[in-house]
């Protein structure tokens, strides 16, 4: 299957299901294609999640005070004196900028893309993603290699994320999005850039348990990965747009304390 065929199928799926009430059942060859082609996966993600968001079909009422507020703004802006002030301020700023430029006082310090030593700059969050050759087996890690674990979900749990995550990303728990039931909890953490990391925990009794971390590609989001593992009859899954190696590190360091 080529990209054009794949996009035709995606478009057709959503033309038939514009409200996205049911996710389309993807033919196996389309799924295979999406696994190997990041552009088509992004296309799928864009069309499915964003452009067919059910909220786009909703309408809201006009706020009652909008008319009077808008009119007041129009009145204020139509005053000539405001325009003159703006013009004067712009001219002053321009003169200051030109003077600063000419006399060398307006230098802006910019961090170099490469350190002075000549080594390539590598940003763990934004720099490098092994997108093309993803081999899940590379990321299997036996549980007994893990040094630090305390998982308990009885009572009110306090969760601490590993230092790297909180230090670099400052992900914060979105309290609007907590879903909790007797046997599961879903927590969503959002970074200042709007990236999110989800943690889903389910109680599994008498189930088959792999004693390894399993890394998957997120089926819905491009460049997103998820790591799942079992621990003491609980199944954990974290998912984020973070390189798999790093997500795995987070999974290993994750600690939930009561």
């Amino acid at each position: 299957m080529n990209c054009s065929n794949a996009r035709d199928i995606i478009d057709t799926c959503f033309q038939e299901n514009p409200d996205r009430k049911v996710l389309p059942v993807m033919p196996p060859d389309l799924r295979d294609h999406l696994n190997g082609c990041d552009i088509c996966r992004t296309y799928f993600e864009t069309v499915m999640i964003a452009l067919h968001d059910p909220r786009l079909r909703m309408a809201i009422e006009l706020p009652k005070k909008l008319k009077s507020k808008t009119w007041r703004t129009v009145q204020a802006s139509s005053s000539r004196s405001v325009q003159v002030k703006h013009l004067a301020a712009t001219m002053a700023a321009l003169v200051i900028f030109v003077m600063g430029y000419l006399f060398g006082t307006a230098h802006v310090k910019v961090e170099p893309s490469q350190p002075l030593s000549g080594e390539l700059y590598f940003d763990q969050f934004c720099g490098y993603l092994p997108a093309s050759s993803f081999d899940p087996s590379r990321y299997f890690t036996p549980v007994d290699e893990i040094s630090f674990y305390r998982f308990r979900l009885t009572g009110d749990s306090v969760m601490s994320f590993p230092s790297l995550l909180t230090g670099y990303g400052h992900y914060q728990l979105d309290t609007h999005l907590i879903e909790r039931s007797d046997a599961s909890v879903c927590l969503v953490f959002v970074s200042p850039l709007g990236d999110l990391l989800t943690l889903r925990i389910r109680e599994i009794k008498n189930g088959l348990m792999d004693d390894a971390y399993i890394v998957h590609r997120d089926p819905l989001r491009v460049m997103a990965y998820s790591v799942s593992w079992f621990q003491n009859e609980w199944h954990f899954t974290i998912s984020a747009r973070i390189p798999p190696e790093y997500l795995l590190t987070i999974a290993k360091e994750l600690a939930i304390r009561t």
């Binding site: 864009t46 909220r55 709007g194 989001r221």
Partner: protein
């Protein structure tokens, strides 16, 4: 000022409801941002209203101003804050029974798409907005823009691809 008031009343009553809903969607369902965009749109429209007299295309004209205002604001905000503004509306009031994970993914992706729309060709952006943010049919878009339906469909496809490429570039940056 009386003339401006009459003109304002006419424009507001005819188009504001539709325009506000469009702004609300383009502002990631944030009512406050949409209100700001509407106010700015009317200010600019009334300042230029003397040069514009085609009443049949009044809505299209206001829409263009509104879109410009919203994307300009987004650019300015990013310039000063170096970040995408997170959504402010509590989404659970809009969608009755959301799965938090799906909702969060939807919110994240929607924000990225809106941001990426700035980077694509304005012709493509216009078609996408009409199609997905205003819910217009291909025929309606063709009539509005004076192009044939096949061109509309082709632009929609190319716009989506351009959007996908932008998103991918953003992800790998």
């Amino acid at each position: 000022m009386i003339g401006t008031r009459i003109r304002f009343e006419a424009l507001y009553n005819r188009h504001c409801r539709k325009l506000f809903n469009l702004a609300w969607r383009l502002c990631s369902f944030n009512v406050t941002d949409a209100e700001d965009a509407i106010q700015e749109t009317f200010v600019r429209a009334l300042n230029a209203s003397e040069t514009y007299s085609d009443q049949n295309k009044e809505y299209a004209w206001l829409k263009t101003i509104c879109i410009h205002v919203i994307f300009e604001k987004k650019r300015r905000y990013r310039f000063f804050n170096n970040s995408v503004r997170p959504e402010l509306t509590t989404p659970e009031t809009i969608t009755p029974h959301p799965n938090p994970e799906q909702l969060a993914v939807s919110r994240e992706t929607f924000g990225r798409v809106i941001t990426a729309m700035e980077s694509i060709n304005p012709e493509f952006r216009h078609v996408l907005i009409s199609k997905h943010f205003e819910g217009k049919t291909d025929d309606e878009i063709a009539g509005e823009q004076g192009i044939c339906v096949a061109t509309v469909r082709s632009r929609i496809r190319r716009a989506r691809v351009a959007l996908a490429e932008c998103l991918l570039k953003e992800n790998t940056r």
